[in-house]
């Protein structure tokens, strides 16, 4: 070898050895061993974070809808969590929860709360007053009104919130590799250390594709569960 290549990739094609911008064959060779497992982990991280975040934000939004004086403190806490820089938050959490998935999840969940809380609450508040009046007048209990009238009508806003939460979490979860070798962030961190652009680009593009695919899936699911929003007057 007549020029220092750091690191030494050893085997591999010229493309990889010379660390050209992007080598398709590296992706092919490492799909099953490196990229796919990280992608699956990334999906897991995102799903758990959004699911837990949604459960918390949903409960908080329903409570704030019933008791409006809770809205401001809840929104304040969620906004506060949202403003903490993610790397700083990871660093702060490590002494408490260690280098574990809990650290990652606490942070990811924290970042979903603001948008989910806001959207669920906005959805609940946007229910037409005459529909609520009719519900009460027909003898629906508060619980029945919530589940049969308010929540279905809040669905469009709620789903819009979930879309934003999912896309931001997919993006943010790459930073989790700072704490834990998990998800698509890990190959990105490796690549940054190795100056290996193929890995960087492959993992980065996968994260973007994952976000786009998840968003598209949510749009389709949303359309399926809110048929009334697309009802047009018959000609």
């Amino acid at each position: 070898m007549n020029r220092p290549v750091i690191p030494d990739f050893g085997r591999g094609s010229d493309c990889v050895r010379e660390n050209r911008l992007f080598c398709g064959e590296w992706v092919r060779d490492n799909w099953e061993g490196v990229l796919l497992p990280r992608l699956v982990e990334h999906v897991e991280l995102t799903l758990v974070a959004v699911a837990v975040g949604f459960a918390i934000a949903f409960a908080a939004a329903v409570a704030a809808h019933r008791l409006p004086r809770l809205e401001t403190p809840f929104a304040f806490v969620a906004a506060f969590l949202y403003t903490i820089p993610s790397l700083a938050l990871f660093q702060l959490l490590v002494p408490v929860t260690g280098l574990t998935v809990a650290t990652v999840q606490v942070a990811l969940v924290g970042y979903t709360l603001l948008v989910l809380f806001r959207n669920v609450l906005t959805g609940l508040q946007s229910v037409p007053p005459d529909a609520l009046e009719a519900a009460r007048g027909m003898g629906l209990t508060r619980r029945q009104t919530l589940w049969r009238v308010e929540l279905p009508l809040a669905l469009p806003a709620l789903l819009a919130g979930v879309r934003i939460a999912v896309v931001t979490t997919v993006s943010l979860a790459t930073v989790a590799a700072f704490v834990l070798p998990r998800g698509l962030g890990q190959p990105i961190f490796d690549a940054l250390r190795e100056y290996f652009t193929t890995k960087l680009i492959a993992a980065g593009v996968l994260a973007v594709l994952l976000a786009v695919a998840a968003d598209a899936l949510l749009v389709l699911a949303g359309r399926a569960v809110t048929p009334w929003t697309r009802a047009r007057r018959p000609a």
Binding site: P128, A134, G137
Partner: protein
């Protein structure tokens, strides 16, 4: 369910922070199967009085009895499920189809699926909507008048004995409004519910009511009487002013040519207008005045049955009740 009597006994409601009562010692009896229309200027507590019946507003004093039972003693949810409720914007659930909207209360009551489906079909037909065409539509796909029909069908779904209607036709254009009023009367002849109906429109009140209850600011009852009696003999200055200077004409609107004793057809002169027997006296007078005539011919099924003069109309007004 059989129509139930509704009785207000010194019913009183005060809202905190307001000196005047919203409803002040209101005593009023609505007989089973009767349409009672509450009218009055804004601030007269019409809607509040209506909501005392299904406890959307809670009484402070006095009582309201539905079918002989005090609403205070009844569970609010059960009470409301037994009372049809129609509001101005219809209040349909935007996320449910017309059929599901109508099925709301039967579902709450746990009816069987087949019974609900049959009832929904029956009711949509009753309010003049084809169940196959309209059942699967969403409220956003309906016109204002159609929404109100669905609202009425939904209120009637569990066959309540009592129907509360809070300005149900208030947001409709005049033509749709008149059509729905007529249809409501035809429907009421069929279903015979005890109806409490709120409006601020005197014409609507006198058209629909068996008895009109006029409320004044502060929520006290000014007069409770059948429309003709009310228009003929307002109890006081306030009622007279509220009914308007044209209350004589409004009274004429209550009767049709076919309802009154006619004069001989021979008195008709060439040029006198010929009107069908279903024409209201008000429209007949208007037609005579428009043509500069003092008499009109009354036709029924194409043949002239008799005639009516302006003089005769005046005599008719004078005959029953005057001040």
């Amino acid at each position: 369910m059989d129509a139930a009597e509704i009785e207000f006994r010194e019913a009183t409601k005060r809202y905190p922070g307001r000196r005047e009562a919203a409803v002040d010692r209101l005593s009023l009896r609505v007989a089973p199967g009767e349409v009672c229309v509450l009218v009055g200027p804004s601030g007269a507590g019409k809607t509040t009085a209506l909501k005392l019946v299904n406890r959307l507003v809670e009484l402070d004093d006095g009582d309201v009895l539905v079918g002989g039972h005090s609403v205070r003693q009844l569970d609010a949810t059960a009470l409301r499920r037994g009372i049809g409720y129609v509001i101005q914007q219809a209040g349909l659930f935007p996320h449910l189809t017309v059929a599901s909207n109508v099925a709301t209360v039967p579902k709450l009551l746990g009816w069987k699926r087949s019974r609900i489906d049959a009832r929904v079909r029956e009711l949509l037909e009753l309010v003049g909507l084809d169940p196959l065409a309209y059942g699967p539509l969403y409220p956003s796909q309906l016109s204002g008048g159609q929404r109100q029909r669905v609202g009425l069908a939904r209120a009637l779904a569990a066959d309540p004995g009592v129907l509360l209607m809070d300005e149900p036709f208030g947001a409709l254009d005049p033509i749709t409004r008149a059509r729905l009023q007529e249809e409501f009367l035809a429907l009421q002849r069929e279903v015979r519910k005890t109806v409490v109906f709120v409006t601020h429109d005197v014409d609507e009140a006198t058209t629909l009511a068996d008895r009109v209850a006029v409320l004044r600011e502060g929520g006290s009852l000014a007069q409770h009487a059948p429309p003709d009696e009310l228009l003929a003999a307002p109890a006081d200055e306030f009622v007279a002013r509220f009914l308007g200077a044209d209350r004589g004409l409004k009274r004429l609107a209550l009767r049709r040519l076919g309802d009154v004793e006619l004069e001989p057809a021979e008195l008709v002169r060439p040029g006198d207008p010929e009107l069908p027997a279903a024409t209201s006296l008000r429209d007949a007078v208007s037609a005579m005045l428009a043509g500069g005539r003092a008499r009109c011919a009354v036709a029924d099924a194409g043949a002239v049955r008799g005639s009516l003069s302006l003089e005769r109309v005046a005599a008719l007004l004078g005959r029953n009740g005057s001040r």
